[in-house]
């Protein structure tokens, strides 16, 4: 009789938006079943939002996630503006889109770095995180903060982007393009990365529809959904760009989609900077006196996929009900499809490909024997298992 081993991955890491515990039930090296427990860091934000004023809720929802901290205020602003029925000025739209796309670039770079690390490519990790720094510096220059930018408000944005800052933003973008070329080259042309990621963690179109997955996870499986195109908001309908998709649905396709999206983001920002010059002199925020009774649904495309906010207003100064759905809520559930039947060494990168769960896998994973409770493996050993697989493939290829 084969012995099933339980490998828990998780649950907790304070940097993550969603600490979770994944229990991998393994037969030898093969993952046979996966179960999860969530709610370790449930902060009751939906409930908390009901006790804050609309202006305060922006700061609250910004803290849902540290990495994509502008996508929640973005969706919330869209929802509240839908209740009021206003459209912000073009200048505010351009500023919003610039912040949104800079965030996508830094989030995707962060992902590429971690994906590299999990495959045993620590050089990729160092590079990607180094290239991410200038983007964070740009955030500091534009918004005053490297993270949690506090740029959004109902009816517009809080800070303007000064004409004098545009050349510096442009020079960082120019630098980013060459660095993305470098990274894309390192990832796309490497036979070892191909061997580790192609055909691994495949999600079919049907899986995506069944789990309602969104963002790069869906687009890598050929499902071309992107809120920026489908339900245009901010400056996205005013600029030219295309939705990046891939067909394979494996880890490689997800990496490809994210890398190519960075080029699109750079191009969107460049066009928005031109838009800023055209819209000079416009107000950055409208004066909103009160928020009428009603219901508004706001969506925004975060780096990980669609963020959905549904706000009910009773005419008072705080929301009567505020429902939030972050993209990982639907994306994480696809692990059930992506990981079962894979080896443990591949499960690490399959989990990581969806982009919610790096820190867990890195810091907290400990493997226990499901019968005796004896410790079998810790996080480092799990990651080393992945490294080992990469070096085996390397040796075979070279």
């Amino acid at each position: 009789m084969s012995k099933k081993t339980l490998i828990p991955i998780g649950p907790y890491h304070p940097l993550q938006e969603e600490p979770e515990l994944f229990k991998l039930y393994c037969d030898g090296e093969i993952v046979r079943d996966i179960k999860w427990e969530t709610g370790y860091n449930h902060r009751g934000i939906e409930k908390l939002s009901e006790s804050k004023t609309y202006d305060q809720v922006f700061f609250l929802v910004e803290r849902i996630c540290g990495i994509c901290s502008t996508s929640h205020p973005f969706a919330f602003a869209n929802a509240v503006e839908e209740i009021i029925g206003v459209e912000v000025t073009d200048r505010a739209k351009y500023i919003r889109s610039i912040i949104g796309e800079l965030e996508r670039i830094h989030s995707h770079l962060l992902w590429v770095g971690l994906a590299g690390h999990f495959l045993g490519y620590n050089t990729v990790f160092m590079w990607a995180w180094k290239y991410r720094e200038p983007v964070l510096d740009l955030f500091e220059m534009i918004t005053g903060n490297r993270n949690s930018y506090a740029m959004f408000r109902v009816g517009g944005v809080r800070r303007d982007i000064d004409e004098s800052k545009i050349p510096e933003i442009q020079s960082v973008l120019d630098g980013l393009k060459t660095k993305t070329d470098l990274l894309a080259g390192a990832v796309m042309d490497d036979p070892v990365i191909h061997a580790r990621t192609k055909g691994v963690g495949i999600l079919t179109k049907q899986d995506i529809l069944d789990y309602a997955a969104v963002g790069p996870t869906a687009r890598a499986s050929g499902v071309a959904i992107d809120v920026r195109k489908d339900d245009p908001y901010a400056a996205y309908p005013l600029v030219n760009w295309k939705v990046i998709t891939a067909e394979a649905g494996d880890v490689f396709a997800k990496a490809e989609v994210r890398l190519l999206e960075m080029y699109e983001s750079v191009s969107i920002i460049e066009q928005c900077l031109k838009g800023l010059q055209k819209s000079a002199g416009q107000d950055i925020a409208l004066k909103i006196k009160e928020i009428p009774e009603g219901m508004g649904m706001g969506r925004a495309e975060a780096p990980r996929g669609e963020v959905f906010h549904c706000v009910f207003s009773d005419g008072s100064n705080s929301p009567a009900r505020h429902k939030i759905r972050a993209p990982s809520y639907v994306n994480i559930a696809t692990f059930k499809k992506a990981c079962i039947g894979q080896t443990i060494a591949d499960a690490t990168i399959s989990l990581a490909a969806v982009d919610p769960c790096y820190c867990c896998t890195e810091r907290m994973a400990v493997a226990y024997d499901s019968k005796s409770g004896k410790r079998l493996m810790n996080a480092r050993e799990l990651t080393e298992l992945s490294f080992q697989r990469t070096s085996e493939i390397k040796n075979k290829l070279i």
């Binding site: 009751g44 489908d230 969506r299 549904c310 759905r325």
Partner: protein, 145 residues
């Protein structure tokens, strides 16, 4: 297919089930239906009309428990809200989780926070407060005077 055609087709097909229709703007449609019809409507939206389930929002109001099921038709940029009002004292509705996995977690969450019973849910266990919250106490319920 245009937004109007999608909406017309839906309204024709489910005319007897529809109690109320609100169109906030051309991209958002709120349709109040009889709770008994939810499975049939969801099945139509998901399997034949090309809708994607976004999420569901539960509310506790003076009317009772309300659920808004948000469905998105992405190519048309349309969000169709299927709205149901459930009984004050015994809120229950058919689960959609046997139709698509996307509703599995949110139904568990609504069950946990509001005490709404999802009939035929494959695994209606607690999602977020397993082991550290009292049974039968629903934190998002309100008290109306």
């Amino acid at each position: 297919m245009s937004r109007e055609e999608i909406i017309d087709q839906f309204r024709k097909k489910f005319e007897p089930e529809i109690l109320d229709v609100t169109e906030k703007n051309p991209k958002r449609m709120i349709v109040t239906v009889r709770p008994e019809a939810i499975l049939e409507i969801a099945e139509y939206l998901y399997t034949s009309a090309g809708f994607r389930f976004i999420i569901a929002t539960a509310l506790h109001t003076r009317k009772g428990f309300e659920i808004h099921y948000h469905f998105s038709r992405d190519e048309a940029g349309l969000i169709l809200n299927i709205h149901v009002v459930l009984d004050k004292d015994d809120p229950k509705i058919e689960s959609l989780s046997n139709l698509f996995n996307a509703s599995n977690w949110i139904e568990r969450e609504m069950h946990e926070l509001y005490g709404i019973d999802f009939v035929n849910h494959p695994n209606q266990e607690k999602l977020i407060s397993e082991g550290n919250w009292a049974e039968g106490v629903y934190p998002y319920r309100k008290e109306f005077k």
